[in-house]
Structure formats: structure tokens, C-alpha cells
Symmetry: C2
Subunit: 147 residues, 2 copies
DNA sequence: TAAAACCTGTGAGCAACTCACAGGTCAAAG
DNA sequence: CTTTGACCTGTGAGTTGCTCACAGGTTTTA
């Protein structure tokens, strides 16, 4: 299989295949005649695996680590379980934050229903946004030193 | 006010102030003696406005557009309302996607409870992730040409 | 008066691709 | 048999919104 073939088989952009190869997630052999990269079924498995892992929120370094461990015949699964748990917690945090944001947005929208547009007068840039109230910073975030 | 002063007043990193200045969101005057940037209350308003708008999901180009329109004494509010509506819809889409992701993650987790780790054997990289089922691609996304 | 803390502009780094470019290779059509 | 078009190669840059690093100038503090 050449780049385009494996890319189509996995449903990704050929440039993504090249990128993953550069990043050592895929290790194709070379055709000595023309220096083309040759991918086999194992590479396709790795590529599909990488894409699934990406969907789950694993980073490329994490995926490379899993793949490398698998190459060394170490089971990466305990690590996967661990990262996965963290990832799930983070997804839930993201959901909570977005829900808060949505709440603030909808209440701002309804408040804006009654406000005139108003031309900027040197004091007010846009009342719609200046009317916005800062959310109270969340404790989890500041606990972990985030901004 | 110098960079550090306005940064502290707005609760941002001084480098963010410099960055926004480079991006023409802030237009401080210069002290001719030492070439230092001088920010006034109006700049602080703009900076705070920009930060609020960022929290609402506006991009820097959008914010610059609003600010420039305000400079020209055009009311940016109708545009703000418009972008805001789009932004709200997008936030809601993100929430739906994350909720689907969480659902898939939790069901995968419970399925994994019963699975042994298993050492990679050349056919299986990590059963935990290979067991993962691809979600059906959402129609909205493919409708709009997203990936 | 010297060190510490600030200022300046510029350039690079982050994540995960995506695209562009210039040149080499190959399959089918004329 | 040659041309054309589609593919391949590696590399470098662009995306977003900062953040950090660097080298050198200025101001404040001890």
C-alpha cells in the first residue's frame, strides 16, 4: 500500500499519514526502486488504532508511547486504562464548563433583548458585551493552577 | 499605565498585553523619552472588553473588527448579536458532541471491566481501544464539510 | 552605584494537522 | 514512445491565542 491507499483505507488525509510517519507512529518500509513508502496491514491497524485513540482524546505522544510499548511486547493496557480515566474526567469538566457558558450566554441574550444597540460614544464600546458578567472563577481550575 | 500595570488591572499576562498591542487591539501612545507604551483608561476598557469577548468565544479578528467599528463610531452591536447567536449554536453543538463522547467512554469503560489486559501478540495492539466502536459520523458535521 | 525589576522588539514553541512547493516516478492515452 | 496527469518525495510554513526566551535599554530601589 502506498500513502494514498492506506489513507483512504483509514479515512484520513494522506498528509496525516505522512505526518504520522514523520512522528514515528507509522514505520513503513521503503521500496528500494523508487524510495516510496510501503504500508502493510499492520500499519493500517496502527493507523486505525491511532485514529480511535485520537477520538478518545489521547495525544500523539501518548499514542506513540502505547504503540512503542506494544512493539516491545509490553501490554500498554494498564496505562491506557489510566489515561482513559483522566481523559473521561476532563471531558466531564469540559462539559460542565460549556454548560455554564451556555447558561451565561442564554441569559445574556435574553437580557439583551431589551437593550438598544447604542452607538459607541467613547465610554461604551458595546453595551451588549460590557453588560456581560464575569463568571466566578471555578475552584477546580484555580486549584490546579489553570487560568 | 505601563504594560505591567494594565495587565494587572485586567488580570492578564503582560505578554498578552504586548500581543494584543501587536495585533492592533490596543493602541497605546508612546512616551517619547523612553519609548515605553502608555495605556489609559480607555485601553483598559478595551482590554477588559476583549477578554470578555474571548470568554464568549469571539475570535481576535472578530474582536478587532468590533473595536475598529467602535472607533469609527459605527455601532458594532448588531454584528455582535449575530456572531453571538452563531457562537451559542456552536457551543451547544460542542456540548452535544462531548456528551456523546462521554457516553461512548463510559460504556467502553464498563465493557473493559471484564476484559483482561492481554499482551500484544502482533495482531492486537491494545484490545481496550480496538474494542472501541466508531461513532456514526454526525450529519451536521458532514453537511458543512467538516471532518 | 549597582542590582533588581521593568521596558523594548523579535522570534520561537505549543497541538495536530493541513497545505504549498519543487522535483521525481509511474500508468494509461495518444 | 512520448506526453499528460496523478501520484510520490521531503521540507517548510500556516493555523489560533497566547506564552516564553533572548538581548539589550531604562528605571527604581537599596
Amino acid at each position: 500500500m502506498k500513502v494514498k491507499d492506506i489513507a483512504e483505507a483509514a479515512g484520513v488525509n494522506p498528509d496525516t499519514v505522512r505526518f504520522y510517519t514523520r512522528e514515528n507512529l507509522l514505520k513503513p518500509t521503503r521500496n528500494p526502486d523508487n524510495n516510496y513508502q510501503q504500508f502493510d496491514a499492520e500499519d493500517l491497524r496502527r493507523l486505525r488504532f491511532a485514529r480511535k485513540a485520537r477520538q478518545l482524546g489521547f495525544s500523539l505522544p501518548e499514542i506513540r508511547q502505547i504503540l512503542d510499548q506494544a512493539d516491545d511486547h509490553h501490554s500498554p493496557c494498564p496505562m491506557v486504562r489510566d489515561v482513559f480515566q483522566h481523559r473521561l474526567a476532563e471531558v466531564e469538566r469540559e462539559i460542565r464548563e460549556l454548560q455554564q457558558l451556555r447558561k451565561r450566554m442564554t441569559s445574556a441574550l435574553s437580557a439583551w433583548q431589551d437593550m438598544p444597540d447604542g452607538t459607541p460614544d467613547g465610554h461604551t464600546i458595546c453595551r451588549l458585551i460590557e453588560h456581560w458578567e464575569d463568571p466566578a472563577p471555578s475552584e477546580e481550575a484555580s486549584d490546579r493552577g489553570e487560568e
